[in-house]
Subunit: 234 residues, 2 copies
């Protein structure tokens, strides 16, 4: 079942974006009177009937709402370094949304090769991935922040920092959290976090973890971390 | 530490391919007398000294050999449907090699949108991923085969078929195998396996599994399956 996305909902009326309207009416040739299912990205799923078929702004009347078909009982925040090859990070973002994530935070680390991300592209990828995977939560994509500041956020959840540096006493990521627990995971740049960064995170309450002996690319480590949480909760 | 790849080894002489030779000598400006570390893709890691610096075929004298720094105590074969978007399958292949895999088999299923893969590209991606992730096993990339034939292979390992079809009694993939166990996992096309295909696999000894409630793209399901095995063994 195809799920659409609409963030502009008022009472029983949903006003679709130009992009989504064009897709429904021009590409899929939907018409007045047709029904469709859509999410607001906030955990709600609606059924509705198309009442105006203006490709610049399609209007839908909501007929019923449903529970989130893919609810999660945990919150996941992955803070990950931007990458020189932006496509790789975008690939991570897509897969993170598919497996279920609440917040993605680009963090600028000492060895980060880039300090920004292609935000508009990332947002488009997240909306598409949410719709395609039948999910109803559009994850938050925060503005880039330094790792130094990020670790200072007050937190209640389990916080992990993944590093290849074996001089730190790391546990396997799979042993570092429990099913149903909220988790924040820090993933560093291709050159890893510096020892000072790891130490600062530990002092701030982060648990140092490893994701196996493999030398994973940043986006692969990010996906493996997301899968670790996803699989612990299936 | 950068690892190179050479499959042509005879006694203490290693003859590098034109591509790898060009990379070492022209791009990295290495010279006669320089040392380097390389793998044969068969689990062996060697140290050697460059003795002829011909960019068409660099020759290296082996000075010592090392154990595989990333040994695995399990074999993993993922049989996955080719995809209409070949780049997506190539992402899967790269990530599968990074997390550790022995054999990748393209399987043609009832609903497969494509019956072939870009073999040369895939092989290049596999070699790069092996080198970059510090691994010494170059996984096998088999020729495409029908799912029907694939499931008939005699097998001793645990065999799993991932499907979204809840009419089958599926267990979570995480519960379907043990640490250290050899596993073969079947991943279907975007439209999933047909009920007949799942039934045939079950009759042949496959255990039907789910990879959570999320509706994952084929390549994402493939990565999640690889991560499931990788993480169970870290």
């Amino acid at each position: 079942m195809q799920i659409f996305y609409c963030e502009d909902i008022s009472g029983k009326k949903a006003l679709f974006s130009r992009e989504e309207s064009g897709h429904c009416l021009r590409v899929l040739r939907m018409r007045r009177g047709d029904t469709l299912t859509f999410t607001d990205g906030k955990g709600n799923l609606y059924n509705g009937v198309i009442d105006t078929d203006d490709p610049k702004g399609m209007s839908v009347t909501i007929t019923s709402s449903k529970n989130d078909p893919t609810p999660r009982n945990y919150r996941l925040n992955v803070a990950i370094s931007p990458l020189k090859n932006e496509e790789r990070l975008e690939w991570f973002i897509e897969k993170a949304v598919e497996t279920g994530i609440d917040v993605i935070t680009p963090v600028i680390c000492s060895r980060s090769e880039k300090k920004s991300i292609r935000r508009k592209r990332a947002e488009g990828i997240m909306i598409s991935a949410m719709k395609q995977s039948g999910r109803c939560i559009l994850p938050g994509l925060e503005e880039p922040e330094s790792a130094e500041e990020f670790i200072r956020r007050p937190a209640k959840e389990k916080r992990l920092i993944a590093t290849c540096d074996s001089s730190f006493d790391r546990i396997a990521i799979t042993e570092a959290f429990n099913r149903g627990e909220d988790v924040t995971i820090l993933i560093g740049p291709e050159g890893d976090f510096t020892p000072a960064e790891v130490q600062a995170a530990i002092s701030a309450g982060y648990v140092p973890v490893h994701i196996g002996t493999g030398r994973l690319r940043t986006e692969t480590a990010g996906i493996a971390a997301c899968c670790s949480v996803y699989l612990a909760n299936i």
